[in-house]
């Protein structure tokens, strides 16, 4: 199984980084205003926003290659949560696009969003 590439510093993400949890609950609302809620999924799903800057060309090439290998959001891979080190075995890129900006040599930036898939 593929793994999200690490930077040369061995880090996965840089500051600022974002993380979110999403439950999928359903709500039934009755005529008298009472609501009944229930879980519609077994567990929450995680989502990470990885913004990377000041990358060198080799690091950017690794991310580019990872994007190609996964064919955008199609493939799945193991992602290690940079907050707690926990491994999530079934994750995908959230979008079918990858944008890189080079403002100078050895100064590239990009961002990706990773989402955990339902098993």
């Amino acid at each position: 199984m593929a793994t999200f590439p690490k930077l040369k510093t061995n880090a996965v993400a840089q500051y600022p980084a974002g993380k979110s949890l999403r439950y999928q609950n359903q709500t039934l609302r009755f005529l008298d205003g009472v609501e009944q809620r229930y879980r519609d999924s077994s567990s929450p799903l995680h989502r990470w926003e990885i913004r990377l800057s000041e990358l060198d060309e080799t690091e950017m090439a690794a991310i580019n290659s990872f994007f190609s290998d996964n064919q955008g959001s199609f493939g799945s891979f193991v992602f290690t949560d940079p907050w707690d080190g926990q491994q999530y075995p079934n994750c995908s890129l959230d979008a079918d696009s990858l944008e890189a900006q080079a403002v100078a040599e050895l100064s590239l930036s990009t961002s990706v969003v990773i989402r955990e898939n339902r098993q």
Binding site: T58, M60, A62, Q71, S73, S92, E99, R118
Partner: protein
């Protein structure tokens, strides 16, 4: 074939450069949150936004002539990605794209300059010179920078090949970057490679060809390279701003799509 022009410096663009790759995945999300996905590799597109500033009159005229020749979005052209390595499989010298002479043996997983093991050892077991090279379907008259890191235990002189041109470079025990820059005689394709003298052994890493005068940081590649044969301008409009005498700025958007 129409080719996207280089500036007088040999560069294709100025900083900043934006490159955007877009794939297509058909996703069917079920009620319980699971997703059934189907990839559509034929729908991939790549887009570049090239920003130019302080262009001379001559350089602006060249871009305008190119825009006229392409007739905006109508005609395709060859685009050499200024942010990428033009060689395919730059870290896999045993791939079929590399033409390797029969007495040149390759061994991989050698420690490299970057702290990994992506270097290769090239051993010439014969007494005659042997080479490894790759041919690009790109105009030979363009300015290219061919570079590679090399080292060897016994000092040796290797030959860098660019088309029919040959350049000798000394290799010693420490990693050094061998660089050749310039244009060759016009032709529809051009080869780049290294030639070892008889009974020589060297370690190599980071072979790279770029459409510019000087080498930039090494960018490892796989099957996809920076050569895009059927690129198009994204817009039918070419506008520029003149900021001073003989000084102009503009932006050009280029798109490449497999399915167009």
């Amino acid at each position: 074939m129409l080719t996207y022009p280089q500036l007088s410096s040999g560069a294709i663009t100025h900083f900043p450069v934006r490159k955007r790759r877009v794939t297509r995945t058909i996703t069917n999300t079920t009620l319980d949150g699971r997703a059934i996905k189907l990839a559509d590799p034929g729908a991939e597109t790549t887009q570049w936004q090239l920003q130019y500033s302080a262009l001379s009159d001559e350089e602006l005229s060249m871009l305008q002539q190119f825009f006229s020749a392409a007739e905006g979005t109508l005609n395709t052209f060859l685009f050499l990605d200024p942010t990428d390595n033009l060689l395919a499989w730059s870290g896999q010298l045993d791939q079929a794209v590399w033409e390797c002479a029969p007495f040149l043996s390759l061994s991989s997983d050698i420690s490299d300059l970057a702290g990994g093991t992506a270097a290769w050892t090239l051993t010439n077991s014969s007494s005659a010179a042997q080479s490894i090279q790759q041919t690009l379907n790109a105009p030979a008259g363009y300015v290219y920078c061919f570079s590679a890191y090399a080292r060897c235990n016994q000092p040796v002189t290797v030959t860098m090949l660019r088309g029919t041109d040959r350049f000798d470079r000394a290799v010693g025990p420490g990693w050094s970057r061998l660089v050749v820059s310039g244009a060759s005689a016009p032709a529809d394709s051009i080869s780049f490679g290294l030639e070892l003298p008889g009974n020589a052994t060297i370690d190599v890493y980071g072979l790279q060809v770029e459409p510019q005068t000087f080498p930039s940081a090494y960018k490892p590649t796989q099957a996809t390279t920076g050569v895009y044969a059927d690129a198009r301008l994204r817009d039918d409009l070419f506008s520029f701003t003149t900021t001073d005498v003989n000084r102009h700025s503009c932006a050009v958007n280029i798109i490449h799509a497999n399915h167009l």
